[in-house]
């Protein structure tokens, strides 16, 4: 861990140096005319990203003390919290969130039809999916407290007990987290193909559909089962929350070092699939907005396939592809570590290391979106019914693109560290744990190159939507 800051500085140094080199040269050129502006070609920038991940693995491999690694990942500082204060705050926030949901549905169905002026669109996409989601991995997972469908499901459960007098149904355990995997890929597919980011009425329809399914499911199977197992959104925030420094435990709230809450615990194959799906959907979301995608999809649709089926097919195929590559890496890791531990166990054991990558990618993708739309968010919150005619947005400086690349890299570097800590928790000695990471690091290097390429592409409207 002691090496991580230096790696971060080194990585930032390289990326900044490369991108600012162009700018500095441009300024100098303005002064004397002897220098010409230069730009680093994008292939070199993404190759540098891959190199940074490789280098950060090499640097973490210098940290081989079991006790030190455990000391870093298990370090905890308890934060003082008053139980009564917490209970009151949680109750208040819970009903407030129901109010916000009601306002979003109301303004969405009756308010202005211009996307940027409607509270539903700006609130859900910029406020919730961009802004709120960032807090879950940067601060802590507050979703169980602010999830508006929980109190609604509570009301439903009350009705069930009083009026129908029926017990909750038992959730079929063999399904595990698989419904949430299907739900997550399905939701992102819906987000890509339908105009729910532009048309408030469509968004309200999707929210209403999701509410009906969620409340009904929570009433039938019980709230804890539904939000703990089935609901994809709650699961996304729970995984993101494990990246965060603040962790809720039985004793209160604890402060942990980055990745500390991801370094322990093992989950099943369904959870592994969910983590891979989380990584895939963040990638897919960016991938559909690249020029290369637009060309490819036009070709495929030209053969006579319906566009929405192509989008669905690629969403599922991409997920399958990610899962397959990850499985191959786990099988390979079994050989490099020279161990009898099963490939299935390794797959599930290393899956939490993928979560920081998804978080870093989310931050790269959505921080700029959130900041540029934040004045619009403030405007529509202040005047939801009659928003000002001219909605302002922030114009981000050119160096923001560099910052995005740095976020992608930071997520990957945290992932390298989590995988390192996890390998030392499962393999004996100091060389076997390092060797077990070879396949995963190789996959990560290629994935970094791929995701940095996506982040660096100019935004292209996905065709046929």
């Amino acid at each position: 861990m002691s090496r991580s800051p230096s790696i971060a500085r080194w990585a930032l140094g390289i990326v900044c140096a490369t991108v600012f080199a162009g700018e500095a040269a441009a300024h100098a050129g303005g002064l004397s005319g002897t220098f010409k502006p230069v730009a680093v070609p994008s292939w070199l920038v993404v190759a540098t990203g891959g190199g940074v991940i490789g280098a950060s693995f090499l640097l973490t491999s210098l940290v081989t003390d079991h006790a030190f690694i455990r000391g870093v990942t298990e370090w905890r500082a308890a934060l003082p919290t008053r139980t009564t204060a917490r209970t009151v705050a949680v109750r208040g926030v819970r009903w407030l969130s129901v109010g916000v949901l009601a306002a979003i549905v109301m303004i969405g169905s009756t308010g202005p039809s211009v996307a940027a002026a409607n509270l539903a669109i700006v609130g859900v996409w910029a406020g919730w999916w961009a802004g709120y989601t960032m807090t879950t991995y940067l601060v802590g997972n507050t979703w169980p407290a602010v999830n508006p469908w929980r109190p609604l499901a509570g009301l439903g459960a009350l009705l069930r007990d009083r009026v129908l007098d029926r017990p909750t149904r038992r959730y079929p355990e063999r399904l595990g987290a698989w419904p949430s995997v299907v739900g997550l890929v399905g939701l992102v597919w819906l987000e890509v193909i339908s105009p729910i980011a532009q048309q408030p009425r469509t968004l309200v329809g999707v929210i209403a559909g999701y509410s009906v399914v969620t409340v009904a499911g929570a009433v039938v199977y019980g709230r804890e089962t539904w939000f703990g197992v089935v609901d994809p959104i709650a699961r996304v925030f729970r995984w993101y929350g494990r990246v965060a420094p603040l962790q809720r435990t039985g004793r209160g709230i604890e402060f942990v070092l980055p990745g500390g809450a991801l370094a322990d615990g093992r989950s099943g194959a369904d959870e592994t699939a969910f983590v891979v799906a989380l990584l895939w959907v963040t990638t897919y979301d960016g991938l559909v907005a690249t020029p290369a995608w637009a060309t490819a999809i036009r070709t495929v649709v030209g053969w006579g396939l319906p566009p929405s089926a192509v989008y669905l097919g690629t969403a599922i195929a991409g997920f399958g592809c990610f899962l397959y590559i990850y499985r191959v890496a786990a099988r390979w890791s079994r050989r490099t570590a020279d161990t009898y531990v099963t490939a299935r166990y390794l797959r599930d054991w290393f899956a939490p290391a993928l979560v920081p990558i998804a978080a870093g990618y989310h931050l790269a993708h959505f921080l700029g979106y959130f900041l540029s739309l934040s004045p619009a968010l403030v405007a529509v919150i202040a005047q939801p019914i009659a928003p000002p005619a001219a909605i302002r947005t922030l114009v981000l400086p050119a160096w923001f693109g560099t910052l995005q690349l740095a976020f992608v890299l930071a997520g990957h570097m945290l992932a390298v560290w989590v995988a390192h800590a996890r390998s030392f928790a499962i393999f004996p000695g100091r060389l076997a744990p390092i060797r077990s990471q070879y396949p995963f690091v190789l996959v990560m290097v290629f994935y970094t190159v791929f995701s940095m390429w996506i982040v660096g592409q100019p935004y292209t409207q996905p065709p046929y939507l």
Binding site: G265, P428, L431
Partner: protein, 107 residues
């Protein structure tokens, strides 16, 4: 209500438990941990595992064997770290050269 074990399956810590293992049919494990019966492909891995996982309950002989195994591994680790430093230097050199060439061609 519901089964709490499935209610929060993502947060069940069992890091201390023994990982699932599978031994190919044609193979016999070189060693097996006497405390948790985890099989290992090499004697050295088993000895190192004793020190990492069962440091509180082991015997004096096991401790001596562990210390010897750590010493042995340290030599291998030193060579490995030399390779790491070599790889880092190579990586650095390749990137510096790549940037010099690319920026040089443009300038």
């Amino acid at each position: 209500m519901t089964d709490p074990s499935i209610a929060d399956s993502s947060a069940t810590p069992d890091g201390a438990s023994v990982p699932d293992t599978a031994i190919p049919d044609a193979e016999t494990p070189a060693a097996q941990c006497p405390y948790c019966s985890r099989p290992f492909r090499t004697e050295q891995a088993c000895t190192l595992h004793l020190g990492d996982a069962h440091g509180e309950t082991w015997t004096d002989d096991e401790r001596a064997a562990y210390e010897a195994a750590v010493d042995d591994e340290s030599d291998d680790l030193f060579v490995f770290h030399l390779k790491v430093v070599g790889a880092l230097s190579l990586l650095y050199a390749v990137y510096v050269l790549a940037y010099m060439i690319v920026l040089g061609l443009q300038g």
